[in-house]
């Protein structure tokens, strides 16, 4: 089924963060840029969502430091999966650690944002990433 001239659905972003405050801010940031957002509080939940609805996820944005599964581990799992590896993954962290950033980029992360993430970071990122997908 192809869409014709109807307005396409806004892209769907999966936001992963164990901090309830950061989830609220990131999802508001994304929604105010008119993206659809699903927030989850762990890498494990993120993988559950992706296994059910991976075709419908256009970008993953994840915190780096999370208990149990770090954002880096989530990134690796996504990039190792044939179904999921095309989905751009963005990492966020409040720690500005060049080796950490390098490692994530080497593993296939699109970008590494330093927290607190600003509206300008997201809009620049999203418009770049999501247009290339279309």
């Amino acid at each position: 089924m192809s869409t014709t001239t109807v307005t396409p659905e806004p892209p769907h972003v999966l936001a992963v963060d164990d901090s309830i405050v950061d989830r609220a801010v990131i999802s508001r940031l994304l929604r105010s840029s008119k993206y659809r957002v699903t927030t989850v509080d762990s890498g494990k939940r993120a993988l559950e969502v992706l296994s059910l609805d991976g075709d419908n996820v256009h970008m993953i944005i994840t915190d780096y430091c999370m208990p149990e599964m770090s954002g880096y581990e989530l990134l690796k799992r996504v990039k190792e999966s044939t179904e999921l590896r095309e989905i751009p993954v963005v990492l966020m962290s409040s720690e500005n650690s060049p080796p950490r950033i390098r490692r994530c980029l080497e593993e296939g992360a699109e970008e590494f944002l330093i927290k607190p993430v600003r509206a300008s970071d997201l809009s620049r990122l999203c418009s770049r990433l999501i247009t290339t997908l279309r």
């Binding site: 901090s19 405050v21 609220a24 801010v25 508001r28 940031l29 409040s94 927290k115 607190p116």
Partner: protein, 156 residues
């Protein structure tokens, strides 16, 4: 008339929170995310912050008691709190969190205990000030509604 006075008071209260270093630019970023769809977003996030930070503070408190000299654990808990502070622009509180983490890095128990007390103090002070600020905003908002005459041509 009254409401514009209250609005002025709220603006001046906000300015002094910035001048005294309680808040930083990130708070403005949060307020800027408000719109017609989410007109109370800043207050909602701040409320969420205080609920969450009270829990995180209690985690640190318990860790200080139950796990003496476990600087890695103490640091990990404080890192979470610092992250939340950073996200809403709670600048002074964030600085105290960072002090605590520095003391953890040095293995300085006394320093940790002292700076933890400061974290709690800043938390309490910020909560008081932000509650007052949002209450003032709410009063200014309410007065606008009451003063508008009923009937057509009303603004929302």
């Amino acid at each position: 008339m009254d409401y514009s006075n209250l609005r002025r008071q709220a603006a001046s209260m906000k300015k002094s929170l910035f001048d005294q270093g309680y808040l930083d630019e990130q708070f403005c970023q949060v307020e800027d995310l408000q719109d017609e769809a989410s007109p109370n977003f800043a207050e909602e996030v701040v409320t969420l912050f205080f609920k969450d930070s009270a829990k995180l503070i209690s985690n640190v408190e318990q860790a200080l008691e139950k796990y003496p000299k476990d600087f890695n654990r103490w640091d990990a808990y404080m890192q979470q709190l610092k992250g939340s502070c950073s996200s809403i622009g709670a600048s002074r509180m964030k600085s105290e969190c960072m002090s605590f983490r520095d003391y953890c890095g040095q293995g300085n128990v006394e320093g940790c205990m002292r700076s933890f007390q400061k974290v709690k103090r800043e938390h309490g002070a910020l909560r008081q000030k932000l509650e007052a600020y949002f209450q003032l905003l709410r009063q200014a908002g309410q007065l606008v509604l009451l003063e508008l005459p009923p009937g057509p041509g009303c603004k929302n």
